[in-house]
């Protein structure tokens, strides 16, 4: 294993995070604060408690989850896409470093970046509402796994994308809608029965509810299901990444 190589990629990506500090950290904070003002305070005052917790508390795990998956995805996808785009990817391809080390470097850095943002949002949320966490370790496990899985997902998309349009395709048309429809702002049983069934096909529902269960002990789906969906998603991505390694897809023509 070229541990120094892996560590170098990780460090380099974290440096990049620091350089785009405003964009990568400050903007999610502002967005989250806005969610709290609009949904938590304005709408929340009109909503009764859900499962015994206030509306402002209810939305916190979903907001954190949304930030985790969006940021890990975009950090990893842009991380690998830009070197491809400007050509500096040659530095990695000509170095004695394996695909696994390259992937690990980018994916772990993206995971870290997402978790940092998640932690900041948690901190911001504390200004608006008290947050006693029922299963703090499980909360951490869910947060880490989801960030990791979406970083892996982003990495694959960043490899696949051959222009900026393709890079933005999934976040805009898949991840954002699915997270809004994933029960961040409502409990599934508030929906009509038909839409309740449809919602169960949305993988993000399981992730968001997994974290909500860890936070407050309430959930629309059993946490075992949440964990299973995350692990299944991870397994599928490992298979795709394995195939990319084997074929050198889009990296070594």
């Amino acid at each position: 294993m070229n541990w120094i190589g892996l560590w170098t990629i990780y460090k380099k990506e974290m440096q990049r995070t620091r350089r785009v500090l405003f964009q990568s950290v400050v903007s999610p904070v502002i967005t989250t604060a806005l969610y709290f003002v609009v949904f938590g305070s304005a709408i929340g005052s009109a909503v009764d408690t859900i499962g015994g917790i206030s509306y402002a508390q209810f939305i916190v795990p979903g907001l954190i989850m949304m930030a985790l998956l969006a940021n890990s995805f975009s950090a990893a996808s842009s991380g690998i896409y830009f070197p491809k785009f400007i050509g500096s990817i040659y530095e990695l391809l000509s170095a004695p470093i394996s695909y696994i080390e390259i992937t690990a470097g980018y994916v772990l850095a993206a995971t870290t970046r997402a978790l940092l943002i998640g932690a900041i949002i948690f901190g911001v949320a504390l200004f608006f509402t008290p947050l006693p966490i029922v299963h703090p370790w499980w909360a951490l496990v869910f947060a880490v796994l989801v960030s990791f899985v979406f970083a892996l997902f982003g990495f694959v998309v960043g490899l696949w994308a051959s222009n900026f349009e393709q890079l933005g395709l999934l976040p805009t048309f898949v991840i954002a809608p699915l997270s809004f429809l994933g029960g961040v702002f409502y409990s599934i049983d508030m929906l009509p029965p038909f839409w309740q069934t449809v919602t169960l096909f949305n993988p993000l529902v399981y992730m968001i509810n997994g974290l909500r269960w860890a936070f407050f002990g309430i959930t629309d789906v059993h946490p075992v299901w949440s964990m299973s969906v995350i692990l299944l998603f991870m397994a599928v991505l490992f298979v795709i990444v394995g195939w990319i390694f084997k074929t050198g897809y889009k990296l070594r023509k």
């Binding site: 070229n2 541990w3 120094i4 190589g5 560590w7 170098t8 990629i9 460090k11 380099k12 440096q15 990049r16 350089r19 830009f82 070197p83 400007i86 050509g87 500096s88 990817i89 040659y90 530095e91 990695l92 391809l93 000509s94 170095a95 004695p96 470093i97 394996s98 050198g248 070594r252 023509k253």
Partner: protein, 303 residues
Amino acid sequence: MIEITNITKTYASGFTALRDVNLTIKKGEIFALLGPNGAGKTTLISAICGLVEPSGGTITVGGFDTKKEYRQARSLIGLVPQELFLEIFETVWSTMTYARGFYGKKDDPELYEQILRDLSLWDKKDEKIQALSGGMKRRVLIARALTNEPAVLFLDEPTAGVDVELRREMLDVVKDLQKRGTTVILTTHYIEEAEELADRIGIISAGEIKLVEDKDALMKRMGHKTLSLNLVQNLEKLPVGVQQEGVALSPDGSQIHYSYKTGANSGITTLLSSLKEAGVAFEDLDTEQSSLEEIFVTLINQK
């Protein structure tokens, strides 16, 4: 040092960039790969360095297979690409430390200082790449390729679009590296560059190695020049006294061409005095060095 055996490369588009290339690079030599644009120079280098997966054949670097033992093979290699592939938001210094890090080697600030000083980059070490001029960026590309102390350095068109001073410096760096035992492979389409630096020259065209020869031998062959004399009056045939070797009349009779080798025995004086004696007047003259293109044509026709 490098053993290339039956390498072929056909891209997904169907374009065949390399056809059954066989080449041996000796340890410690400077090898110049000459060829016109699109001949396959960059593809060949990319195949050795791991940027391109060959369709067939094997390559070893320092005895290590570039596919099966890629870590050992690539550890020996430094690559300076043709294009300015740099991350513009990084500083010169971080570009150096990352470059060495990717090779799995521990940071070595003293080495970076040495390299940056040699390439007149020391005072730019904390500048961002985007603030540097094109020539400076090219220096950075070379500097970063030296951070892993390569045994083999590849320079892909190192002097394309570079001013005289930088060109001079780069040639000095290459010579210096050779003194320290580094094997250098460079691609170029400037004959003069190959002439100044190389120990051996390979010519590649349309994905095939046309010839590999010691520089001195090749330069003799390339040293041909052609003298053209525009005559005042067209001739039907060459006057008797002018018929020396290498002299020919153009088909329309308006020009005399003389093919010669530069030097004391070029034969130009003889030709000119014999023309004077024969009373042939000319209005203009022109000399032309045989270009690489022409040499390709000659080489291909010979085979």
